[in-house]
């Protein structure tokens, strides 16, 4: 894609995806709120999970894409600022998704366990992941040439993502070492219409993610093009200054 040809953030493709995403979201609401039955054990609380689980899945996917794009940027053979752009866009969307994951998780937790927060491996890892990528975005916002910014962020992004398993493992060890295995509520089995609701939600979230990525990516391309254009103008201006 030639950056200078991008004039709008919307394309025919993104419009189609957008419409599909809206349909998906509507379907998700219908299935999640109406069609799927309340769970035997959790009652209506289970409906939060239709938001929480896909959001969590997408969160890790989004940051995973950031990490992989970062690797592709750093690797000489595939080095291209496109990968850096994708990494940045995915991280931004990822941060929003993490907030949704944590919020829905906390609301569900309040209803199911009685507390908003439990220091378990998943929640803690997600919370720290959020902080790490807020730091990543802070780094991204600093003034620097595109190549310098790309390299810095790639390294930080990869380290952040690779650190998550370490965090998860430590917290897991930590929390299971002393506590006797807690007798949890009777496990909820997901089948039939509930499974379908999950699937529908997941598809809806994926479509929303793709739609957001397309727009954000094109926006970033436009920013890049403006930057490049600005540079060419500046070179020309300085040239003129010298000759004058």
């Amino acid at each position: 894609m030639n950056e200078s040809n991008v004039l709008h953030t919307g394309t025919r493709g993104s419009r189609i995806i957008g419409i599909l995403a809206l349909i998906g979201l509507a379907w998700m609401v219908v299935f999640g709120l109406l069609i799927s039955p309340p769970d035997e054990v959790q009652g209506d609380n289970v409906r939060y999970l239709y938001l929480h689980v896909p959001a969590a899945f997408l969160t890790f996917t989004a940051f995973g894409i950031t990490a992989v794009s970062s690797i592709l940027y750093l690797w000489k053979r595939t080095r291209s600022l496109t990968w850096d752009r994708i990494a940045g866009c995915s991280a931004e969307i990822g941060v929003v998704l993490t907030a949704v994951t944590l919020a829905t998780g906390m609301l569900w937790g309040k209803l199911s366990w009685g507390v908003y927060w439990r220091w378990d491996a998943l929640l803690t890892s997600t919370a720290l992941l959020l902080v790490m990528f807020i730091g990543y975005l802070a780094l991204r916002g600093l003034e620097a040439s595109p190549e310098v910014r790309a390299r810095r962020c790639a390294i930080v992004g990869i380290i952040a993502f690779l650190d998550v398993p370490l965090i998860h493992f430590s917290v897991n060890w930590w929390r299971t070492l002393h506590q006797p295995a807690s007798i949890g509520p009777r496990k909820t089995t997901f089948d039939g219409p509930m499974l379908l609701s999950f699937f529908v939600s997941l598809v809806a979230f994926v479509l929303v993610y793709i739609w957001l990525m397309m727009h954000r990516n094109r926006l970033a391309m436009m920013e890049q093009a403006m930057d490049d254009h600005g540079l060419q103008m500046a070179i020309a201006e300085r040239h003129a200054e010298a000759i004058a």
Binding site: A144, S145, V148, L231, A234, I235, R238, H239, E241, A242
Partner: protein, 215 residues
């Protein structure tokens, strides 16, 4: 003989700002070339580009036989850059600073001592912490760190800044001796009455372009 520096229509950027917009320059071995021009003209940028610190994105840029557009890191060990900042550690003494920077280039203790002596830093000043020195004394210390490394190409940004008459004489002697011993010197200066007698050639730069490579 191979020129030490050969730039042709070189374009260099700092972030998104074009600092060199077409610099063409040739410097031969053992020359002492003065770079002059108004503030913001690109003198510092040209020196930094020669040192391999600033990326050259267009044109030809060869220093000591190294193509800077391909691998600018390769030239760094062979040049000595004296920038606006002195590159010194405030809490180390003069000797400790010169010794450290000399050792990064493999200089022996003898060479470090010689460098200190040449810059008049052997006596009382040798054991004084840099933070206590005057601006001129710091400049001499910074130059001593460059001298201790014995680079093939000296890149100096306002070497006389902050020095009194005696200090400037000292620096001029050091530079002449270095050139006589085989080094090449490219330096930027505003103080033309001091700089022009020292230089074997003067080059003018303006708005990122070299405008008048006078002979």
């Amino acid at each position: 003989m191979e020129p030490v520096v050969h730039f042709s229509e070189a374009v260099a950027v700092h972030g998104r700002f074009p600092v060199l917009t077409g610099a063409s320059l040739t410097v031969n071995p053992c020359e002492i070339v003065l770079l002059r021009g108004p503030n913001g003209a690109g003198k510092t940028s040209l020196l930094r580009a020669c040192a391999g610190l600033l990326p050259v994105v267009q044109g030809i840029a060869n220093v000591l036989g190294v193509d800077l557009t391909q691998d600018r890191k390769a030239v760094r060990a062979r040049v000595g850059l004296l920038s606006h900042a002195n590159g010194l550690y405030d809490d180390l003494t003069v000797t400790e600073n010169v010794r450290f920077w000399g050792q990064t280039a493999g200089a022996s203790d003898a060479e470090v001592k010689a460098a200190l002596a040449e810059l008049g830093l052997s006596g009382r000043l040798a054991t004084v912490k840099v933070v206590k020195l005057s601006a001129g004394q710091r400049r001499r210390t910074a130059l001593a760190t460059v001298l201790a490394r014995r680079p093939e190409l000296w890149l100096l940004d306002e070497p006389h800044a902050g020095l009194d008459g005696d200090g400037r004489d000292l620096i001029d002697d050091v530079l002449r001796r270095a050139a006589a011993a085989g080094a090449t010197i490219l330096f930027a200066s505003h103080e033309l009455d001091r700089a022009e007698p020292l230089a074997t050639r003067v080059v003018r730069i303006d708005a990122g372009r070299v405008v008048q490579p006078t002979c």
